[in-house]
């Protein structure tokens, strides 16, 4: 991945910055130029809440090469407290501890290993909230 493409997404990947439509209030993650709900074009930047619940999940046994060192890993769709959904990898939990409804929090992690000459790719994962 070339670095301009990586740097462009950093506000989303590092800080969960979303775009809130100033007209109808719809929150878009990642931010968009046109509101999917009301078609307006003005937004304010808001950060997403960090806690949510698993909507659905899977354990991936056969990943693409950049993720091979992490297999098997759990991918999940998480619904955050404000209703926004993200696709995440679950960090630091064996597959059998993750299921629909499991409560998680978003954390900052290294995501993938590309070739040595490329940027190291960071972003968000989700961690199971203990107890």
């Amino acid at each position: 991945m070339i670095s301009p493409r990586y740097h462009r997404e950093k506000p989303q990947r590092y800080r969960l910055e979303a775009g809130k439509c100033t007209k109808c209030g719809e929150i878009h993650f990642p931010p968009r130029k046109v509101c999917r709900k009301c078609f307006a074009r003005e937004f304010e930047t808001v950060e997403l809440p960090r806690r949510g619940k698993v909507v659905t999940c899977t354990t991936v046994w056969i990943p693409p090469a950049e993720f091979d060192d992490q297999k098997p890993y759990v991918n999940a769709i998480v619904e955050l407290e404000n209703g926004v959904r993200l696709t995440v990898m679950i960090s630091e939990a064996p597959p059998d501890e993750v299921d629909i409804g499991t409560e998680v929090e978003i954390v900052f992690r290294r995501l993938q290993h590309g070739p040595a000459w490329e940027v190291i790719r960071y972003g968000y994962k989700a961690r199971v909230i203990a107890g």
Binding site: V55, T56, T58, T59, V60, P64, A65, N75, R85, T87
Partner: protein, 385 residues
């Protein structure tokens, strides 16, 4: 709009075809199609060719030029069409609309994919998902359908045995298809015991990595009536898109783009699913066939799994699905799949489906889907009585 007919088809064998290149695959299917239609090459006015990602699989773009030249059609007006795994269906629709509009009389609709050429197929296919917000986080294509399966199981009680029933049935059909990549019958035990790909999906819940090409030729229905062959009309064409990311859609146990495309095709034809005799459905994974049969209205939501397990979608069942063997057994060269589905409808409706022939079917439906449900085409074909 005027009525349009399919007047010929060409289909390469599907499989790991290491000795055949992308351009040669297309040339074979195209030449077979024109021969079958009995139309001379200089009568063909344009072509639409579905291909998902030849750039990643074999490093070749600009396909309209290279494919037409090697098919002996240098000079033809031609366009490559891309909509992930629905590229073939989208190409078919473009060709259909060009003939229906009256702009051209003879238009080729083709599809091709050369997936076995050394590229990382898991990576190439993941480009049909949201690169920045799904694939970046490690999700694979089987992973997306596994999350659909997990949600469907939680909501409706769908079981791994019901998923397996889809694979067993499609392999039973594919065993009768000489073009199929894996024309072998398999048992439920084989499916359930297979190596895991993405829970709850194992290797036999997934369609294979396939090389292949397919072509059909379209013409005005008045021309088709002069050929002395069964006349197969296109009576409905529906097309729709949805959000690319599974997490951006409300309910991951559904694939609403299928219902939307189907609704448009039914509206055009004035029919409902009850008027259709059989279907080719996009079974890229076993769960996909179950969800799509629900979205098409063949079964109620949640009933796709029990229906498959009860044999309702078998060749001798109440609504045969994927008589060709489907993507699962026939193979899934992604850009060619949508056209290969049309080929199966054409073969069945003209009585040329060999050992898997249905008894006098009148109308068939082909549903071709891109990604995890980001795009879909639905076409309805009818043979004139």
């Amino acid at each position: 709009m005027r009525d349009v007919a399919v007047i010929g088809m060409g289909l390469t064998p599907f499989g790991e075809l290491w000795d055949t290149s992308l351009r040669d695959l297309f040339a074979i299917a195209c030449a077979d199609c024109l021969e079958d239609a009995g139309v001379a090459r200089d009568q063909v006015q344009s072509a639409y060719i579905g291909c998902m990602t030849s750039g990643l699989f074999v490093g070749q773009e600009h396909l309209a030029s290279v494919l037409c030249d090697y098919a002996g059609l240098r000079g033809l007006a031609a366009t490559r069409v891309e909509s992930a795994c629905a590229s073939g269906g989208a190409a078919f629709r473009a060709a259909y609309l060009e003939v229906a509009s009256g702009a051209s009389d003879f238009v080729l609709a083709g599809g091709v994919e050369k997936m076995n050429d050394g590229a990382d197929a898991t990576y190439c296919l993941a480009t049909a998902a949201d690169q920045e917000y799904e694939a970046y986080n490690g999700v694979t294509f089987p992973g997306l359908y596994a999350m659909i399966a997990k949600a469907h199981m939680a909501k409706h009680g769908t079981t791994p045995q019901q998923l397996a029933a889809v694979a067993v049935k499609n392999h039973r059909n594919g065993a009768k298809n000489p073009k199929a990549q894996f024309p072998l019958e398999i048992s439920e035990k084989t499916v359930l015991g297979a190596v895991r790909v993405a829970e709850p999906l194992g290797l036999f819940d997934c369609s294979p990595v396939t090389d292949g090409a397919a072509c059909v030729l379209l013409a005005p229905v008045e021309f088709a009536r002069k050929l002395g062959k069964p006349v197969v009309k296109i009576i409905g064409s529906g097309h729709a898109t949805d959000a690319i990311a599974l997490h951006d859609r409300k309910d991951p146990s559904t694939i609403p783009v299928v219902a939307l495309a189907a609704q448009r095709a039914f509206k055009q034809s004035g029919l409902t699913i009850r008027d259709i005799d059989f279907a080719e459905v996009h079974d890229c994974f076993t769960i996909a066939e179950i969800v799509c049969t629900e979205e098409l209205g063949i079964f109620e939501p949640g009933q796709g799994g029990p229906a498959a397990a009860a044999g309702k979608t078998a060749r001798d069942g109440e609504f045969p699905v994927n008589t060709s063997g489907g993507l699962k057994s026939k193979g899934h060269p992604v850009g060619a799949t949508g056209i290969a589905q049309i080929c199966e409808l054409y073969a069945q409706l003209t009585g040329n489906a060999g050992g898997r022939q249905l008894k006098n079917p009148r109308r068939g439906l082909a549903q071709n889907m891109g990604g995890s449900g980001g795009s879909c085409t639905v076409h309805i074909l009818e043979v004139e009585q």
